[in-house]
Every structure is written in C-alpha cells, then in structure tokens.
Amino acid sequence: MVGIVIVSHSWKIAEGVCDLAHEMAQGHEGIIPAGGLDDGSTGTDTQRIADAIVEADSGEGVVILADIGSAIMSAEAAIELLEDEGREINAVIADAPIVEGAVCAAVEAAGGGSVDSVLSCAEESREANKL
C-alpha cells in the first residue's frame, strides 16, 4: 500500500490525524506521524520526517501531508535528504489540508490506489464543501 506521512508542528496533531486516518483504513500500517521536535517543542524536524517516509514506504511510494509554515520546506528537505542518501522512494507532497486530505488519502491507499491516485484524492479534498 502507498504510505502516508503526516507532518505537523505538533506531535499531538500528527498523531491525532493518523488516528483518524487509521479509522478509515484499518490494517494500513504505513500511516506514520512526523510531528514536533525531539524535546517535545512544536516545530518540524527534517530527520524525523525522513525517518517517517522510510517507515511508511512499502515500495509503492509515499504521500506526505503537511501543515503550516516550515512543514512544507522541512518535508522537501527530507525528500532531498533521502535522495542524497541514494534511497529510491517515490515520495510526494500533497497540496491539501491535512485532516481532510489524510482521510481521503488513507481510503484510497487502503483500496490499493497508486501514489498518483492517493495524491489526487488528498488534493481533491481541498474542494470538499462542509456546508
């Protein structure tokens, strides 16, 4: 299954979004949180994200959802770090809200979707009306 990494400044947000996504994709073991810093502060940690991408990948690629500010830059740096290490992981960042995007992505990934289709599902969630 395509892996999913949730990047947030907050560990609690990252973990909570993964919990929600898991409810829609039970049995998917590649939905991995990458939130906060080692010392418990809020922030994004490129190494932690890179480790999460490796953990999430089963060989079919990884879709990353990230929250605000430095989260996207840190996720991009993590992808480059893995490339520099010579790892061949097809990791892409979704331009999507993390909660809605993660739920949509998880459903598609659990259904056997490809990286491209998981990415599109995550990004389509931007357009979903709530009211």
């Binding site: 010392d39 490129t46 830059m73 840190s74 991009e76």
Partner: protein
C-alpha cells in the same frame, strides 16, 4: 589551531547572545520564535561538533543536518540547507581561499532560494545575504584581501537589514501583516547579519 569549529562556535555564541533580540524582532512581525529556535539549533550544533572536526565540508554538513532537525521553524530548513550546500562544495578543505568563500556565498544563496523560493526584496534573510555576497565578490575581484572583502560584506548586509525595514513582507508568517510589516526589520536578515559579523570577527582574530 583555529578552524571551522572555532568559527561555528563564534556564530553559535553570537546567535545565543542575540536570542532575545531576535525573538523580539520576530514578535513584532512573526511568531515570536526566531531567537529561541536559532539558539536551540546552534546549541545542538555545538553538541555535535568538536575541535576534531577540521574538515570544513564535513563540519558544515553536520551543522546543516543538525539545524534541519533542531531549529523547528522555517529558519531550520533554510539555514540547514544553506550549511549543507556550503558543506558540499568545501568537502576535504581545512582552509578557505577567497574564491572558496565566494562559492560558499553562492551555494548558501542557491540553497536558501531552492528551499524558500524567495528573491531579493521580499523581506527575508536573502536581503542581507545577497548584497553581502555581491559586495564580497566585488572586493575580491577588485584585488582586495579576504579581511577587507568580509568587512564590505558585513556593511552590505547591515544596509540590507536596514532596507528590510522599508519593504513589505511577502514570504513567511510576516506576509500576513502586509503593509503593517513596514518599519520592522526582518529577523532572518538580522540573524544572517549576525552570522556574517561572527565570520568576519573570527577571520580577523585568526
């Protein structure tokens, strides 16, 4: 012997001394964490580096990797990438020529631009770094020595920081403030100036 470890130590010391100042600048137009984040990052860098780290490239990469992980805010991937890119082009070196230093400026700018997609004039660290690089290169190309060129770089960076007071932020958290960001100097440009002044002082003390 003095080398990259001592230079990065001086940068770390100056960043730590200016922690509250940088955070105060960031409180005015950002999310009040620049000094705290940078000080945390550089304190972690100093835990990772030792005086045995004499290979400039290896030391800068190690510093960059640590900043990527420990800073937490946007300055982490930006400075982290700058140090990593500077490390790539100085691998195996224990001393720097003026042309190495020119290449470090270019690599750091390219790294920050790759990560932040910013150009000059957007109230970012580039508004200090790009003029500093241009001034350094002009001095070296005109026959000046390293010390004079570094002085010129610091003057240009300081002018760059002043310039950030006059412009609207279009990148990062400060961009939410729009015109209200005018009048405030950019915290990232300021930490870049502090870094350059530390490098300059390190060089002159050598």
């Amino acid at each position: 012997m003095r080398g990259v470890y001592e230079c990065v130590s001086l940068i770390a010391e100056r960043i730590t001394e200016n922690k509250d100042f940088l955070t105060e600048l960031d409180r005015e137009i950002g999310d009040s964490d620049h000094g705290i984040n940078m000080a945390r990052g550089f304190s972690a860098v100093m835990e990772k580096l030792s005086p045995e780290d004499t290979d400039i490239g290896a030391a800068l990469k190690k510093a960059g990797m640590t900043l990527l992980s420990k800073v937490g805010g946007a300055s982490g991937p930006l400075y982290g990438t700058a140090y990593m890119e500077a490390g790539k082009i100085t691998a195996g070196k224990t001393e720097l020529t003026p042309s190495d230093m020119k290449a470090i400026f270019s690599a750091a700018i390219a790294g920050i631009q790759k990560r932040g997609h910013a150009v000059k004039g957007e109230k970012t660290m580039l508004d200090a770094l790009i003029p500093a690089s241009e001034a350094f290169t002009a001095e070296i190309d005109g026959g000046a020595d390293m010390s004079k060129a570094l002085d010129a770089a610091c003057v240009a960076a300081r002018e760059g920081v002043e310039y950030t007071k006059t412009i609207i932020a279009t990148k990062g958290r400060a961009s939410y403030l729009g015109e209200r960001s005018i009048g405030h100097q950019d915290p990232g440009a300021t930490s870049t100036l502090i870094t350059l002044e530390a490098i300059c002082d390190y060089y002159k003390g050598a």
